[in-house]
Structure formats: structure tokens, C-alpha cells
Symmetry: C2
Subunit: 338 residues, 2 copies
């Protein structure tokens, strides 16, 4: 992070601190016998979380796991915050294309940029993964890591969700914040393992989720160390470094953490291998899928969704005894503002 | 980590636990007014560490740094443990070549394997970096991450240093263990940032240094997720993923931690950019180089050494106001057994 970024980051942290402390106020609740999951309706999903935590934290019990090995990994998009009508980072990339377009007149004639400038989502979808990669390279590279953090921070503070008209950082799921706090309170270390860009998430995960940057794993582009005017900088290059999705998630977990999680939380086929990696080894393990079943309070989608498709992983859930949490039935509350 | 590895790892942890608790016994020393750096001789090196920690931990003072941003990074080879007469991991690779040679008769005629089997260090040096990479690929790939952890763990428990005739995990520097403990006690998070293989270090860094696997950054080869007999595995491929050395160290730090360290400790030119990255930004920062000046108790080497060359970084130290700690003069004790 470059020096210039620090004050802005400080501002963001300060801005979000109030919300964060409210969210994390449930810390210590356990000790006082207060319900650690008040936004979860009674039912098998809620019970599976309580049973799992009880089993691995009870010293001397057969499934006890020492605190140092209590690793829990969480997908971000669709698991901790809203991923509809599109991934937040794609909204960011599209806004960046629009902001940078005056310096790129050729974009008006060239896909996928033309699709973005025309707000033509069908054409954008047609550009496929190759088109998305082009968008990311054009908007996420060519600056220092500090400059990018500042750009991402400014955007996330200013941007609003098209339906809920609120900052994206308010579109985080209250029940999942409770799970994060409950696990940490029970000696767990909580990590984000997301297909999203690691440097897009890190500026705000600590105030919003209580997860520090060093516990965020994500996709990345290459960076290069340079000394510029006597100052060391890391410059972001337009080359993919790592895609932290699907079978990449266990790879990213192993590369960053070096321990196998005992609990994993996801919501889509991109989380299938992470849940397999976390749950298919001896001992009490927890795999949980958030099932988006509530079109009224959030969105309802699964097997055919463009973003966050849940198909193979839903089939695997039954055989693997993973918990499937239905937003509509298992969550008394979704967002804090509702 | 595969299931089969757990019991062995547990054994290692148990074996090393006694040593570790002794080493970490100085925890809490600060609170009781006990010297946190008893193995450091009075002098500017010791004083620079004390001054730095005092400056960044004094609330309200101009150089105060909140605990969450107190990140310190440590090179491993030559900074935390002995790297002569060769990197420990190279000794491991050579032993693996010898162990695997019966299944590879062609190695007796092919460099760099022939050099290893003949104990011909001159020929091995001639094979250069390309030869070393070949050795690593032949000995570190082609198994699951769990199998590799078991192999590395077994080796590190059995291997002995050629001169000191002790396990390599006893060849760690007592003064640096004190620095690690002192920093953690002062609210720092301590990380290893090593050119060595990350999966070679992780099985033993926690008992030996008190640094958990998720705070170890190193070089890596690619891994691939597979389901074998219904069990998810990560298979190690003979392809380099990342070289965490020189300009790669800031890249690795940013990729894993996402915060800029405020203190960095190294001993060679491979640490130059890490120290630049950690110290060249506003505020009180600490860069420290261990200078190997004690042929009697350890080794004496710097500008012309094959392993751990300290040349450019030594020149940079004066201009950058880094601390240069002379083993001979600044360390009252080097190893616990001396």
C-alpha cells in the first residue's frame, strides 16, 4: 500500500467503524449465555452450526480440535454479501470503464468495452470469460497497489446497489456476520476465500467483517517491484496470477493457510471443491451452503443463474451431509436495514 | 495435508514442544520488567530494536502504530537459523536424491544428480540455478501435499548438521527467538518471508519459532486439486509457482499479508527489497541485517559467499539507516546448546 493511501483508508475504517462495532457487539454473548445466532430461525441449519461448534470446542470430547487448527473459510460473493444483479466487482469494473472512457475513444467501437458503455448486459454476457478478463486487465492494472486500493476504496464508499440504493457494504448478511463472530469467539480463525480480486476486498473486509487483510484469499493479477523516485512500489501488471475459484480454492487455501479448514461456507458451484476439501477428512466437519430462496427480501436463484450458479454443489450437499441454509426459511433477518 | 500425516505431525509437535516452551518462556517478561533481549550485548543494534518497539507502541506518541498494523517479516535461512555450509533445504533435496536413486539408475550418469550422488559440490555448483530447480522438481513434486509434509517432517527430525551434529531445528538463533517473542509480546504479528519452500518450512515453524503455517510465506511449486478414491488431494506438480526471493519478497508479502510491514529482518541480498519495502515509508521503521561475523561459534561470510551473499544490502544499510547486527559483537549467545 502506498503512503498516499493511508489517510483515505483510515477515513474508510473510521466511517465503517460504528457499523462494525455494532455488528461485533455480540462478541462475548456466548459467555453470558446469550444466543449467538439470533437471526437464525430454529431448525436444522442453525442446529448444525451450534452442534458443530460444540463438538469441536469441548475439550476431551472425541471431536475436539485445538484452537490453532480451528480454521473456517468463507466465500464472499453470495455467501457474505449480495452478488445480484451482478458481482459487485463487475459493477466496479464497469464504472471504471465509464470513468476511463474519455481517454479510450476506441472503446466505443470495441467489445467488451462497447457493451459496458452502452449498458448492454446481453452483449457483455456474450463476451464471456475472455471479455471479463479484458475488462479486469483494462481497469485493475497499470497502477501501483496503493493507487488501486485508493480507487477501490473511493468506489466502494460512493457506489450504491441498483435495487436497494445502499452502499454494497450494507448488503452483507446479518446471519453470516453472526456466524463469523460466533466462530471467532469459539477460537476459530476466519478467512475469506473468494473468486473476487484480493486487492478489491482487502481495503474493507476488516471493518465490515472483522477479517484482516492477511486472512483474505482471492484471485490476483501479477505485481512487480520497482523503485520509482527512490520509493519502492508494487505495480499491477495486466497478467493473471491466480484464479481462486472452483478447484483453485483448495489450492489457494493450501498456499496461504497451509492448514486444512474444518468448516467452509459457500453458495455456488465455485465453492464445491472448497467444501470437499474442508469436510472430507476424519472428524466432525461443517460444510454449509447458503441457498438464495428469497426473491422478496433478496434474490431467488440457483441452478441456472449466471452469477453464483448452485447446481453441482447442491447435488453434492445431500450425499456429503452439508447444511443447506435457505434464506427464506432459516434467516429471520437478511440485512440490517430491513 | 492428508490424513495420514496428522499423527506424525502431532509427534513432531510433541517432540519439539518442550524446546519451544523453553524458548517462549520469556513471554510476559516485559510486563515483569525483565530484559526482553538477554542474549543481545549492549550496543546500538540492541538499542535500535528497543527504541523502535518503544516508539511504535507508545499510544499518543508521534510514531505510534495500531496493533493491527504491527507487521514484522523475517527471512529464515541465515536470519533465523543456520544456512551454512548449505541451505538446509538443499541438504534435504540431496538426501532425497540419494533415497530415490535406486529407482532412477539414469541419475548416476546425469547432472545435477550425478554430482549429488558423488557428493561433488563443485559439480553441483556448476549446475547453477537450472540444476537446483531440476533437483527440486525431482524431489519435491509428484506426491500429495500431505505426503510431502510427512517426508519433510521425517527428514527434519532425523537429519543432523554436518558440523554441529545436531538437528537443524536446534540451529536457530537464540537472539532472534528473543526478538520474535519480544515483538509478539508488543502486539506484533510475525511472519516468515523466505526464499525456501513454503511447504518445507510449515511443518515445524510453529513449534520452533512460534509462527503458525498461515504466517509463513515462501517459494512454491504448483499444486492441483484432484479427487482420488473419493478423497480430495492436492498433488504437487513439477512446475515453479513463485520464487519468494529478492524483488519477489515484497510481491509475496503483498500477496499474502496485504499490509506493508513496519519491520523486516534479513541477512542477505535476497532480503534487500523486503527491507526497502518495509522501511522506506513515513514513520519509525526498523530494518535489521544479521551479519555473519563469527567463524568460531557459527560462520563468517558476507560479500563473496555462495549461500546468503550479503553485498548490495550491506552497502544499502548505511544509507538506509538499517541496523547491522554483528553476530560476534552483538550476540552474547548464538545457539541454545553453546
Amino acid at each position: 500500500m502506498s503512503v498516499v493511501n493511508i489517510p483515505r483508508r483510515t477515513v474508510l475504517v473510521a466511517l465503517l467503524a460504528t457499523a462494525a462495532s455494532a455488528r461485533l457487539a455480540s462478541r462475548g454473548a456466548l459467555a453470558q449465555g446469550v444466543d449467538p445466532l439470533p437471526s437464525w430461525a430454529d431448525g436444522p441449519a442453525r442446529q448444525s452450526i451450534l452442534d458443530f461448534v460444540a463438538a469441536v470446542t469441548r475439550e476431551g470430547a472425541p471431536d475436539f480440535v485445538p484452537a490453532s487448527q480451528r480454521i473456517a473459510t468463507f466465500d464472499n460473493d453470495g455467501t457474505l454479501w449480495c452478488e445480484q444483479p451482478m458481482y459487485v466487482q463487475l459493477a466496479f469494473a464497469m464504472d471504471r470503464v465509464k470513468a476511463l472512457a474519455p481517454s479510450h475513444p476506441e472503446w466505443h467501437e470495441r467489445q467488451p468495452f462497447k457493451a459496458v458503455l452502452d449498458n448492454d448486459m446481453a452483449a457483455l454476457a456474450q463476451a464471456g470469460e475472455k471479455g471479463l478478463v479484458e475488462l479486469v486487465m483494462a481497469t485493475h492494472a497499470g497502477m501501483t497497489t496503493g493507487e488501486f486500493a485508493r480507487i477501490a476504496t473511493d468506489w466502494i464508499r460512493a457506489a450504491r446497489h441498483p435495487r436497494f440504493k445502499r452502499p454494497y457494504t450494507e448488503l452483507v448478511y446479518r446471519p453470516m456476520l453472526e456466524v463469523l463472530a460466533f466462530l471467532r469467539q469459539s477460537g476459530f480463525k476466519t478467512f475469506i476465500v473468494s473468486g473476487g480480486g484480493v486487492e478489491f476486498m482487502r481495503p474493507w473486509t476488516e471493518p465490515v467483517y472483522g477479517i484482516p487483510p492477511e486472512q483474505v484469499i482471492g484471485s490476483s493479477i501479477r505485481t512487480e517491484f520497482r523503485i520509482e523516485n527512490g520509493q519502492p512500489e508494487l505495480v499491477r501488471l495486466p497478467q493473471i496470477d491466480f484464479i481462486d475459484d472452483g478447484p483453485g480454492k483448495p489450492v489457494g487455501i493450501n498456499g496461504h493457510i497451509g492448514r486444512r479448514p474444518i468448516a467452509a461456507f459457500g453458495n455456488s458451484d465455485g465453492d464445491l471443491q472448497m467444501l470437499q476439501w474442508a469436510t472430507r477428512w476424519p472428524g466432525k466437519r461443517l460444510g454449509l451452503l447458503v441457498h438464495h430462496t428469497d426473491a422478496e427480501r433478496e434474490y431467488a436463484y440457483d441452478r441456472t443463474s449466471h452469477f453464483g450458479r448452485l447446481d453441482k454443489a447442491l447435488d453434492a450437499a445431500a450425499a456429503s451431509r452439508w447444511t443447506v441454509a435457505s434464506m427464506k426459511d432459516d434467516w429471520k433477518k437478511i440485512f440490517d436495514f430491513q
